[in-house]
């Protein structure tokens, strides 16, 4: 691997990311999948002294429905327009979606309008007719992982831990996986482009870790909306993740880092499914490979309580990573709710070691 070659590519794919004053658009599913992540994002930005508006009136972008062919694109564009209107009403100009699919949708809509102003005009009229709202297009559109990337060094400066194995002193080996809709559709809209994306790599490098380049890094996690939503298609979804696991396992990664709602969920849960169906595991000692969202990882290096970050909701236990880094945590608190009450224990997998 010629590192300078990659750095040259990274230079070609730099994007503008707003400094402050964000309109935050939450993800539909992340709050269920990894509920600590978005909370952590809000906390990190607050601690960084950034202004962010988390509007409760914000709805789905229709991404899942759109990609499942249920909602026509006109509807999608009108919903998106409403969100822009909410941003405009809040007096903000920097739009930050938490979801990669949303990021893709917003990017696609803006690109379409750029080429076809008449469509934008039509949507404006639609929105006005339907809701009486008007909007300005965002001046800056960045995914929330772009924001963390932008402030990766600030986070590193404030960090309590580094992504280094405290026993050996060696950097942790991290597999980075970007959501497909982050930059594969519009490479120039992602930090580092689509081939050698930098957004997560930048974080890992800033926080002391080492990124693994493995052959199937481009492969989709298998979420793919219709593949996962229709039960009969789930075998295809698992197969996609499995392909990635088989490709990355020989590199012995310590963890997988993701920036999409679906990817961490599927890369985490399908490890359990593969182990149950085929008896195969991909981590050390018959365990799995822990999967993190970028907010979770940022929160972890900043020294947040792992259980506040929602790490207990992972199927593949994260404790090996915490132990390697030397994160202080209370084992007994893992299954306690916010109110301190015990939440009960999940059933143990039959094969995957927890």
């Amino acid at each position: 691997m010629i590192e300078e070659g990659k750095e040259k590519v990274w230079k070609d794919y730099q994007k503008e990311i707003a400094e402050d004053n964000y309109f935050y658009a939450r993800s539909c599913i992340r709050q269920n999948f990894f509920p600590g992540s978005e909370v952590a994002f809000l906390r990190i930005l607050k601690e960084l002294g950034k202004n962010l508006f988390d509007d409760p009136r914000h709805t789905t972008c229709t991404g899942i429905a759109y990609h499942s062919d249920i909602v026509p694109f006109d509807t999608t564009m009108t919903v998106v327009a409403r969100h822009f209107a909410l941003m405009t009403e809040a007096g903000l100009k920097n739009f930050v979606p938490s979801c990669i699919t949303s990021f893709g949708i917003y990017t696609e809509v803006l690109e379409l309008w750029r080429h076809h102003p008449e469509i934008e005009q039509k949507i404006k009229e639609n929105l006005l007719k339907a809701t009486g709202r008007t909007f300005e297009k965002p001046e800056n559109l960045a995914h929330s992982s772009d924001i963390i990337y932008k402030f990766r060094n600030e986070i590193a400066n404030k960090s309590k831990y580094r992504l280094v194995n405290k026993e050996t002193g060696k950097p942790l080996r991290v597999v980075e996986h970007i959501g497909c809709h982050y930059s594969k559709m519009f490479p120039e809209k992602g930090v580092g482009g689509a081939e050698y994306p930098l957004v997560l790599t930048g974080m890992v490098q800033a926080w002391g870790g080492e990124v693994i380049d493995y052959p199937e890094r481009r492969q989709c996690c298998g979420f793919g909306f219709r593949q996962y939503i229709v039960q009969a298609n789930r075998g295809y979804s698992v197969a996609c993740s499995k392909k990635k696991f088989e490709s990355m396992a020989p590199y012995k990664p310590d963890l997988i880092l993701t920036n999409c709602p679906g990817c961490p969920y599927f890369l985490d849960r399908w490890q359990y499914v593969v182990s149950e169906m085929e008896g195969v595991t991909y981590g050390e000692n018959n365990g799995g490979i822990p999967v993190f969202t970028y907010e979770e990882l940022a929160g972890m290096v900043l020294g947040y309580n792992p259980w506040d970050l929602g790490l207990q909701l992972h199927q593949v236990p994260v404790e090996p990573v915490l132990d390697k880094i030397g994160v202080q945590y209370k084992k007994e608190d893992k299954y306690k709710g916010v109110n301190g009450k015990d939440l009960g224990r999940p059933e143990s997998p039959s094969c995957l070691k927890i």
């Binding site: 691997m1 040259k8 590519v9 493995y214």
Partner: protein, 362 residues
Amino acid sequence: MDTNKTVAVIGGGIAGMEAATFLSARGITVYLIEKEDKLGGHLLDWERLFPTMRNGSEVVKFLMDGVKADNIKIMLSSKLTAAEKSGKGYNLRINENVDLFADAVLVTTGYDLFDATKKEEYGYGIYDNVITSADLEKIFMSGKALQTKQGNVPKKIGLVHCVGSRDEKAGNVYCSKVCCVTGVKQAIEIKQKMPYTEVFNFYMDLRMYGMHFEALYKKAQADFGIQFIRGRLSEASEDQNGGIILKVEDTLMGKPLKLTVDILVLLIGLIPAKGSKEVGELFGLKNGVNGFYKTTDQHTLTNSSNVDGVFFAGACTSPKTITNTITDARAAASTVAAYLFNYRSLERKIEQNEDFWLYNTK
């Protein structure tokens, strides 16, 4: 039969040298202007030539024999920096300090090689063991053994055709014409040097249009066991040992195919030369849809430009083989002579046959 005519030939590659030779034979004084310090152009970097495997240096020697004439003034390390119409001819400035007059200008600025880093997914400049066809020729020229970066003898080598050609994503929709057969030639050369190395060529179409090209292709299959797989490389990855994992569709099987090779060779295409652009701006020469100079006509007036007294030869108007280039250079010499001596042949006209409709552009 010396005449008092002078022609400036801009570019001392194959076309420039051969055109200069034939112009000088008509008693025309030729200024052969080359920006590098040697004549020969890209041919200097090519070891053996398809389809006969002749040494490129023999052709260079042949061309050099031609430009030894007294009335050819070879100007090396020389760059045209200004041009101004003067009567029927041009006042030209070379390197900011030399001025000369030419009755006609023959542009032979050739081509550049496609920058393979533009195909990011192939990993050129990023993966250790991805090289281009031009790099491979340099290795052949050096006489060194072809090795992986890790210092091993490659057991498997892949060659990818059409890198930067026929590819809208790369911005070049045309066929570079020479890479198909170069791929076959280089595959054979690899096998000749390393008979136990498996060689795979990945192609979308194999265009064996020239005389003996098909024979070369058949020989590659029959005598060297080179495997041709119809499918364009979609992406390459590096494995832990520095091997390159290729993902293609085996289009004849209708299935994706994965293959790990020790060295990947990218058969890069020909693109309009940067030099052509610079020279073109000086004279106000028109470019065609694909960025090469636009000739007055596709079929007939193939050496004439939109500017009076400026002519073209060689690969500056479209990718050409050496054979085509030499033929074209002689044709251009003829055309220039016709212009200088007012041959009736240049009076012929043909209705313009626009090529834009082919591309749906304006």
